[in-house]
Symmetry: C2
Subunit: 448 residues, 2 copies
């Protein structure tokens, strides 16, 4: 099943205008662009790379249909030469990247595209769009995983994610970061991600009697009985569960897996409900909570030792609400064999084809990164690998489980100062002397 | 051209579980659900309704393909009765709504769905997903329009919007709110929205000489010459424009429309550049700026009387960065002829089928809303109209221009206290006595 579509016209107009300019000037030599984040949001200590597989799909399949070409022509904005060029368009470049699930930091490229200038330029907008969002959500989800290790975490954020693609890709990004799964059904056929679900308040409300709603639901989903108990009065509903519902279901051979709380003071209610369940002879029923959760809430709830077994995390996760975007860029670093550098205030870039070398301490924790030119070998492990050559994939596609496992190993390497939300600790790559020298050389040589 | 796709499996798992429960219990009587925002974000004084057309498209076309059904069956989670029900699924309900572009406030429903319970339940997740995002962005865009009246505003936010659908629908929402257009190409074939574009830093960098890059671009896009002048040194580039580029282009019959600034202190650079252009004999060249803009920045720049003619507004707009989600809900208000009410702490809802009646003062400004039961006629104009009956549209689809014009009229009716970002003014609907009484009656009558 095709997970996401790719409309070649989902791009910024200026890409097509510039393309036409490049073609008219015969500027089709090799260009090198890199994608990186300039500066982490103040709320983030690390980022987790995600979205590469969708970028590769996009590059492998990018082409213009007859309808697309007809629209471009009818718009009157473009030359016949551009239309002819797009008619035969295929991406034939190289791609180097950090594997999905890799930890990365400011100024470290996670993707490099090396291709004739018009190709490398055309793909900019969608490459950013794909890498930005999944990286944003994977990074937020990883913080939730670190805040609540050993807990069941489920993505509940489809409804308020920004559109359908965000909903679907958020499920993927959360799973990579270590979530158990998602409530978004289409994530299962698209990516083989486990799906979870309970019941809504409307199910309870549409019944005249809450206990009856619970029993109906249990008979319908006997293997997955999670009862939502906060529609009217949480503790009273918990009492009805132990007094009436659980005994009747037990006789029918049905086990209640969990109750869900979705409102009010979750720590307080969880404690009261835990006591009611335990004292009512239902210690096996687990407590699952949802409602305005994020890593800060998880930390707070678990800090209070609230007896909670699992969390449904929604809106604040899939919108990355405390940091809803990254200051990322896809920048030209070399054209026609010459390194290039943008100098705009606050937005200067490191020129050339780069590699990130990462060192680890004896316990396996991150000990330092060096940003260097690709052929300027430094201490440490090079993080960027070639994944596409001449438009062809160089490796068998990884399954999501492998990416998820790799991400878990990456997170295990985070120093404790970068794991938590508090503090102003940062981790920044050193810049190699040769790269510093190259940047200086370009600045002094450039003439306007 | 089909603007957006609708995967029927893009829903929360619990919708399908509950559906199965409803079918097993024969609970197929008429349910009434309403979509509303519980509480506006502290950063918002009003919201602008958007997304209805996409909801109607979704409802008109919702069906399950053979592949969808095969996947549901193979998942082993669902009964043959549910699969059979979905196989023939068609939405046959009624829809009432506020027109797109209507101003609305907390607790005021902008959509009501009246349909057999399984149908009204199934559509919940995607209905929220569609209304939430466009309303979010239209509201943010409207604030930009109010902050910079008479200025050219263009949506530049595709690349960091959360996925492809968000990018496309943001362009639509911004246009409704009064933007001149978007840089997202696919918004033109999809919605007939004007597209705008300039050039990127990479275009300048890939040339060895900045002035040459400007001339090449101008010859390629002679009708739309907007030159990006901040790649290296903004004022020097402006000087080259007046000294070298403009005279040469003038001889070739090409007019420079504008220069674009994208970094640094935009007010300061705009003032310097304006002086250089005016003193260099180019008073007709306009100044367009971009880079980390939103309504607060627009207010600040225009407050400083920066000589800026147009703004490209990107990431903070399409992610609604200061308020990246709305506390919205789609709640059961009536089932089988009986009004229903959820009581969860902080999430209680007003029961029944509701209408919003709006009063205006003698200058046409909003003077007060009343939230009432539909048949309890109040003073003022009823805002909610029926748009679908028995699954069929009741009206000819509005074109986007008409919606945009309507939204402009709506914004003109905003009292000055709600127009600006400052202050804590709020506008809240009064609740009619009959509705208050109904809520009390349900609370006292309900037995768990």
């Amino acid at each position: 099943m095709k997970a996401i579509g790719n409309d070649p016209l989902l791009t910024d107009l200026y890409q097509l205008s510039m393309l036409q300019g490049y073609l008219e000037q015969g500027m089709e030599e090799v260009a090198v662009f890199e994608f990186f984040v300039r500066k982490l949001p103040p709320e983030r200590r690390f980022l987790l790379a995600a979205g590469l597989e969708q970028v590769l799909d996009y590059l492998l399949n990018l082409s213009f249909s007859t309808d697309d070409l007809a629209w471009l022509e009818a718009s009157g904005r473009f030359s016949p030469a551009l239309i002819a060029y797009l008619q035969d368009f295929r991406f034939t470049g190289d791609v180097h990247a950090m594997p999905e699930g890799t930890l990365f930091f400011a100024d470290e490229p996670i993707l490099r595209i090396t291709a004739p200038l018009p190709q490398a330029q055309l793909v900019e907008s969608r490459v950013i769009n794909l890498l930005h969002y999944q990286t944003l959500v994977a990074s937020k989800a990883a913080r939730c995983v670190l805040a609540a290790p050993e807990k069941l975490l489920v993505d509940f954020g489809m409804r308020r994610a920004h559109g359908s693609e965000a909903a679907l890709l958020a499920a993927r990004a959360c799973y990579i970061a270590g979530f158990a799964g998602t409530s978004t059904v289409s994530a299962a056929p698209s990516f083989d991600i486990p799906v979870f679900g309970t019941m809504a308040h409307s199910f309870v409300q549409s019944h005249d009697d809450e206990s009856q709603a619970f029993e109906h639901f249990a008979h319908t989903q006997p293997d997955n009985v999670v009862l939502l108990i906060d529609t009217y009065d949480t503790e009273r509903a918990a009492e009805y569960v132990v007094e009436r519902v659980a005994p009747r279901l037990r006789r029918a051979g049905i086990r209640i897996k969990a109750v869900r709380l979705d409102s009010g003071d979750l720590a307080m209610h969880a404690r009261k409900v835990r006591r009611i369940l335990d004292e009512g002879g239902c210690p096996e029923i687990r407590i699952f909570v949802s409602g305005n959760l994020d890593e800060y809430e998880l930390q707070s709830l678990l800090g209070k030792e609230a007896p909670i077994d699992g969390f449904g995390i929604g809106t604040r996760l899939t919108t990355s609400a405390d940091a809803p975007y990254l200051d990322c860029a896809y920048k030209l670093q070399e054209y026609a064999g010459r390194p290039r550098r943008k100098k705009s205030e606050g937005k200067a870039t490191w020129p050339g084809r780069k590699q990130v070398f990462r060192r680890f301490d004896e316990t396996g924790k991150l000990a330092g990164d060096t940003l260097a030119l690709e052929d300027d070998r430094q201490d440490g492990q090079p993080l960027i690998q070639q994944v596409m050559r001449g438009g062809e994939l160089l490796y068998a596609r990884k399954d999501l489980e492998a990416i998820r496992l790799y991400a878990q190993n990456q997170l295990a390497g985070l120093p404790s100062t970068l794991r938590c939300s508090e503090g102003r600790h940062t981790y920044e790559a050193e810049v190699s002397p040769a790269l510093e020298a190259l940047a200086r050389k370009i600045d002094s040589a450039r003439t306007v």
